[in-house]
């Protein structure tokens, strides 16, 4: 029998094994110490140099072939065993898994994030101030003297304090942070101020606490055209509308002159409000050029500096954007509501929407 005949016989034998035990028996038969290959190797010594060389080579090749075949067959048998074994491993895969509870971000926070993101791109930085304010910061510095009807535009909460203590109002708007910022920073100033605000007012469209975001730009050349352009850029971006129908109309705030309010057009279909087009108008913000008196009150020379300011209600923006109809729902801790109107933790507004 020649080695090449052996080759076929042996590989066939290997390939026909069904268990690791059989395979091991074959391995011992051919490769074991007293097996076929070692025996053949021992016989080589009696051959001539030439024959020894060629036969030796053949034997080595055969040995390699057997080793590889065994290795392959081993994997084959193991896999067959595994497949056999898992045939009985059936579970009811439709049973529910244990999910992590899903947290949510409140729509007011989400709206604040949106606002910060948009103004952040426009190079604004965020400033904050305390909720309990001085009369000076909340009113007087903003050109709202105590005996002026403009005070009555905002119903103020007063907090109890020690005698002669100055800070005793709950800020009625975020504007006192304008004053704080101007008093401590030299222009150029470019800030937004989101935060809690308070007015003694409670009905279906007013809650005694609400949120505003304030904007202030002070430099040597900011104009009303810049103000108008800034707000349009913001509103388009915020409401995701390319063609925003808006109205920029004169109004009055003691701390700005000229003053304006901005309305956006909307349509209401099946109780869903669509912003940006239509014949109805919704007021969304107040704004104007900083009143020179306010600059003076904050130690900024109105002969050199000028600027603009704007303010808007975060609740109103949230409600318009997310279709929330009852303002008071925002402050009720109703889990079903929070789950419904809340946002996923990773719902981060980026241009790429990653």
């Amino acid at each position: 029998m020649s080695l090449s005949d052996d080759k076929h016989k042996i590989t066939d034998q290997i390939n026909q094994t069904n268990s690791l035990k059989e395979l091991e028996e074959l391995r011992l038969e051919y490769l074991g110490k007293k097996g076929f290959i070692p025996n053949e190797m021992k016989l080589l010594g009696s051959l001539s140099i030439e024959e020894k060389k060629s036969k030796g080579q053949e034997l080595n090749q055969l040995k390699q072939l057997i080793e590889e075949s065994i290795k392959e067959q081993k994997i084959y048998i193991e896999n067959a065993d595994l497949n056999q074994k898992i045939k009985n491993e059936n579970i009811d895969i439709t049973l529910p898994a244990n999910l992590n509870s899903k947290g949510k971000i409140h729509p007011i926070t989400q709206t604040t994030f949106d606002i910060i993101e948009i103004f952040g791109h426009l190079n604004y930085s965020v400033e904050t101030g305390p909720d309990i304010e001085t009369d000076f910061n909340n009113f007087s510095a903003l050109n709202i003297p105590s005996h002026h009807p403009a005070r009555e535009m905002q119903d103020t909460f007063y907090v109890e304090g020690k005698k002669n203590e100055e800070n005793n109002v709950l800020r009625t708007h975020t504007s006192p942070v304008q004053v704080r910022t101007m008093l401590k920073t030299k222009p150029p100033i470019k800030i937004i101020v989101p935060g809690r605000t308070y007015r003694s007012d409670s009905d279906s469209t007013h809650t005694p606490m609400f949120h505003q975001v304030e904007g202030l730009v002070v430099n040597k050349n900011a104009t009303m055209a810049d103000l108008k352009s800034t707000l349009i850029v913001f509103l388009k971006e915020f409401f995701h509308v390319e063609d925003l129908k808006y109205r920029f109309r004169p109004s009055y705030f003691p701390f700005t002159e000229p003053s304006a309010e901005m309305d956006v057009a909307y349509t209401k279909k099946n109780n869903v409000i669509k912003i940006g087009e239509g014949d109805e108008w919704l007021e969304v913000l107040g704004c104007g050029m900083v009143n020179p008196k306010v600059l003076e009150n904050c130690n900024i020379d109105p002969q050199i500096y000028q600027g603009f300011a704007f303010g808007m209600g975060i609740e109103r923006l949230s409600m318009l954007k997310y279709g929330i109809t009852d303002m008071r729902g925002l402050f009720d801790v109703n889990y079903k509501w929070l789950e419904h109107f809340g946002f996923n933790a990773l719902d981060i507004k980026t241009r790429s929407e990653i």
Binding site: G103, H106, V159, F248, R249, P250
Partner: protein, 797 residues
């Protein structure tokens, strides 16, 4: 401010329609609040004649009427007792909307008889509550005449929201002036017919103020009218007053109200027979009483301007006249008051007395400083016209004359502040149409402000005047995306303030936003040192919250009924205390209660515990860059946390966080019967752990030597704290002791009652070469020695 379209046309010569007027008003800053145009809802209703009225064959109370209308004759079934043949009524055709009942009228059969349209009652027309019969109109009206014409409802009512600066527009004339300036017509000349005097006034006006208080009442003028007749005012005047919501009283009273709205000039008429001697403007004495027209006896203070005769007070200056000297239908002799008052003084008085009036509303916003003279003339003319009688000369005190305000205005300011170019010529014509007097001097405009514009103070105001009339919509847009220095959007403190919300939500917590105030009764459990609100919106929102827990906890029971038996919630916001900087600090507060996982077949059916809160807290702190291994534990002793199941966490002096099971006393006060765990993160103390902006990471540790682990179990006294044991072991060598894990804690029957067993796994990292058995042995012994001697512990085999 309310007025009617026809009233406006008294002052404005215009061809503009209602729509143009209202659009323009909004565009120039006089924001439309409401327009009531009855021709829209009521246009269908017309005068009709009942030709016949027969009894309904099947109903005693109903009548079948033939009604002749402009569109033909219709059969109408009607239940009104006054429906009768020959009467004239108001007909509502089929398919019209009945405003008083909100019904769309359909052709129908009433008890088998067809009825087309309806004869309406006053209630159905929304005119009154009258529903006993149908409206009857006089025979002089023709069939087909419009209902709104017959009832004078065809004059649209316009209501605008006047901002506090525009006192000049608290008059129809002021509004007309603005509209004329905006190009919607021409302001008509104010025609005042001078009434000549025929006798000398028996009464005088006096002022009694200290020299430095003269400004409180710059002047007052009056006039005596005798032998007049005070009856009801004419229909046109009554209609106008009714249209704006005022009740007609008598000619004299109606005249004062009319001039208030028409020209913005409040004035007062006294029944001269009820006055003793002259009238004097002066400051009140403390506690002096004044009974005013609203029939309230007000107690004055010595900073209020009052009007007095020799015996008593007859009015509160700029606010309200006295009851006793008020005019009645019997009044025949009248003394007039046309005065000016300091706006601040009127505001203070009105607020102190909590007394609002149309007069106060105008005086506190500032009147035309020239209005005394023309006010007397206009009032005289109307009194004379409507009440007849004779008239004295004008009597007046010294009138403190205000000099006109002058503003030097650089016409380029429109561009530098407004961002729009408007020719100086156009600027001037706008200002002139608004009543300003302007002269040009190169780029500068020398402007004299009209006496009725007390709100105009400087260049910025002039810019606004020009721009609002020129049109805010014409301001061009600019490119705001100019390159400039990049700023940090958020400082590190604010970054934590906002980022912490994402982290909490990512750990399964729902964000809530609740009021910063709460009920004092509930807050008292937390601290005695509360910040109260002087004028709370309601009694249960009367203090600033000293903690966020109560507001979050209140939701537990509320949501139970909605089948939420477990929850994880948080709020980020301020809490208040007098001892904090600015009286507040920002805190992230969370609560968790109920099952720790979903209730299903896999659930461990265990309630959340302190370690669940601790797990969430620590993973959040790690994300906020807090070195959690350096946190020191400190016991909490208050009514917020369970004293035995809570801790505050410090680094140095700063409290970083507190966590634990909430105090049963706190929970009980809110009727919560299940355990709740929670934590608070003190955001203001996180600033020290800035979130690094740099993306570079520190070098990677490539130590190749095999790590080894060894387990130990010790018996400790129960009072020993696990963190102390771990810290001590780590101190052996912080490089070699890579990690100490507590993998088992046992307390119970098999141990003495004051003992616990703790099993530790220590992971060792060789530094220079792989450890030999001996080296491991040495370290193990070190661990055992340290723990047994340091904590009086016993090694368990």
């Amino acid at each position: 401010m309310k007025f009617t379209f026809s009233w406006l046309k008294d002052h404005l010569d215009t061809k503009a329609d209602l729509n143009q007027i209202t659009n323009t008003l909004t565009n120039i800053g006089l924001e439309i609040e409401n327009v009531e145009d009855k021709s829209v809802d009521y246009g269908n209703f017309t005068v009709a004649k009942v030709i016949s009225a027969e009894k309904h064959p099947d109903a005693d109370r109903l009548k079948v009427c033939k009604v002749q209308t402009q569109a033909g004759t219709f059969q109408v079934v009607c239940g009104a007792p006054n429906a009768r043949s020959g009467m004239m009524g108001i007909f509502a055709p089929e398919n019209s909307f009945i405003p008083g009942t909100g019904i769309h009228l359909k052709k129908s059969k009433i008890r088998g008889v067809e009825s087309c349209g309806m004869l309406v009652s006053e209630r159905e027309m929304g005119l009154s509550d009258e529903h006993d019969g149908i409206i009857e109109v006089q025979d002089k009206y023709k069939i087909g005449e419009k209902f709104i014409k017959v009832f004078n409802l065809d004059d649209p009512i316009i209501e605008i929201n006047i901002t506090p600066n525009r006192s000049d527009c608290l008059s129809v004339r002021g509004i007309a002036r603005d509209l004329a300036a905006a190009g919607l017509g021409k302001l008509k000349e104010l025609k005042v017919k001078k009434i000549s005097n025929s006798f000398s006034s028996p009464m005088k006006w006096k002022k009694n103020f200290k020299k430095d208080e003269e400004f409180i009442c710059p002047g007052v003028a009056g006039r005596f009218f005798k032998n007049l007749k005070n009856g009801p005012s004419p229909a046109w005047l009554q209609q106008r007053l009714k249209a704006i919501g005022l009740r007609p009283i008598s000619a004299l009273v109606d005249i004062t109200n009319y001039i208030t709205y028409d020209l913005g000039r409040p004035l007062h008429v006294y029944d001269a027979d009820k006055i003793n001697g002259d009238l004097t403007m002066r400051l009140a004495k403390n506690k002096e009483k004044c009974l005013t027209l609203d029939e309230v006896n007000y107690e004055c203070t010595d900073d209020m301007v009052v009007i007095a005769d020799e015996k008593q007070l007859h009015g509160i200056g700029g606010v309200m006249g006295g009851l006793e000297s008020g005019c009645s239908l019997d009044t025949t002799n009248v003394f007039l008051e046309v005065a000016l008052f300091d706006p601040v003084s009127v505001t203070k008085t009105g607020r102190k007395l909590k007394l609002q009036s149309d007069a106060r509303y105008r005086f506190e916003r500032g009147l035309d400083s020239e209005s005394i003279n023309w006010g007397v003339e206009v009032a005289s003319m109307m009194i004379n016209d409507l009440c007849g009688g004779e008239c004295s000369e004008v009597v007046t005190t010294e009138i403190y004359k205000m000099s006109s305000k002058k503003i030097k205005f650089n016409s380029n300011k429109i561009f530098t502040l407004g961002g729009i170019k408007i020719r100086a010529h156009d600027q001037i014509s706008i200002l002139e149409s608004l009543g300003f007097n302007v002269t040009k001097d190169k780029d500068n405009l020398n402007i004299i402000v009209p006496s009725f514009r007390s709100d105009i103070e400087g260049e910025a105001d002039i810019v606004e005047e020009i721009l609002r009339i020129y049109g805010f919509e014409k301001i061009p847009l600019t490119n705001i995306h100019k390159d400039e220095e990049k700023r940090n959007v958020l400082d590190s403190n604010l970054k934590s303030f906002y980022k912490i919300r994402r982290l909490l939500a990512n750990n399964g917590y729902l964000e809530a936003v609740t009021y910063s105030f709460m009920d004092e009764k509930k807050a008292k459990i937390i601290t005695k040192d509360l910040i109260g609100i002087q004028n709370p919106i309601s009694a249960d929102l009367n203090v600033m919250r000293p903690s966020n827990f109560p507001n979050l906890l209140e939701s537990v029971n509320l949501n139970k009924s909605k089948m939420y038996f477990s929850g994880k919630l948080f709020e980020v916001g301020p809490i208040f205390d007098n001892s904090y900087k600015n009286k507040q600090q920002n805190i992230a507060t969370s609560i968790a209660f109920g099952l720790s996982d979903e209730y299903n077949w896999l659930s461990n059916k265990k309630n959340v515990d302190v370690f669940e809160a601790k797990k969430d807290l620590f993973s959040i702190l790690i994300d906020l860059n807090v070195p959690v291994n350096n946190l020191q534990y400190e016991a909490i002793n208050n009514n917020v946390y369970h004293p035995g199941k809570s801790s505050s966490l410090r680094i140095g002096k700063n409290i970083i966080a507190k966590f634990g099971e909430l105090h049963p006393v706190l929970l009980k006060s809110l009727d919560i019967t299940i355990p709740v765990v929670g934590f608070e993160i003190f955001i203001d103390s996180l600033e020290q752990f800035k979130i690094k902006k740099s993306s570079t990471k520190s070098a990677f540790d490539t130590n190749p030597y095999q790590m080894v682990e060894r387990d130990f179990a010790f018996l400790f006294s129960k009072s020993i704290k696990a963190s102390d044991i771990v810290t001590k072991i780590k101190k052996i060598d912080k490089n070699i002791i890579n990690k100490v894990t507590i993998f088992d804690v046992y307390e119970g029957d098999k141990l003495p009652s004051d003992k616990k067993s703790i099993a530790l796994r220590v992971l060792l990292q060789p530094q220079e070469k792989t450890f030999t058995e001996e080296e491991i042995e040495i370290i193990s012994n070190q661990v055992i020695d340290l723990v047994t001697t340091g904590f009086d512990a016993i090694l368990r085999k």
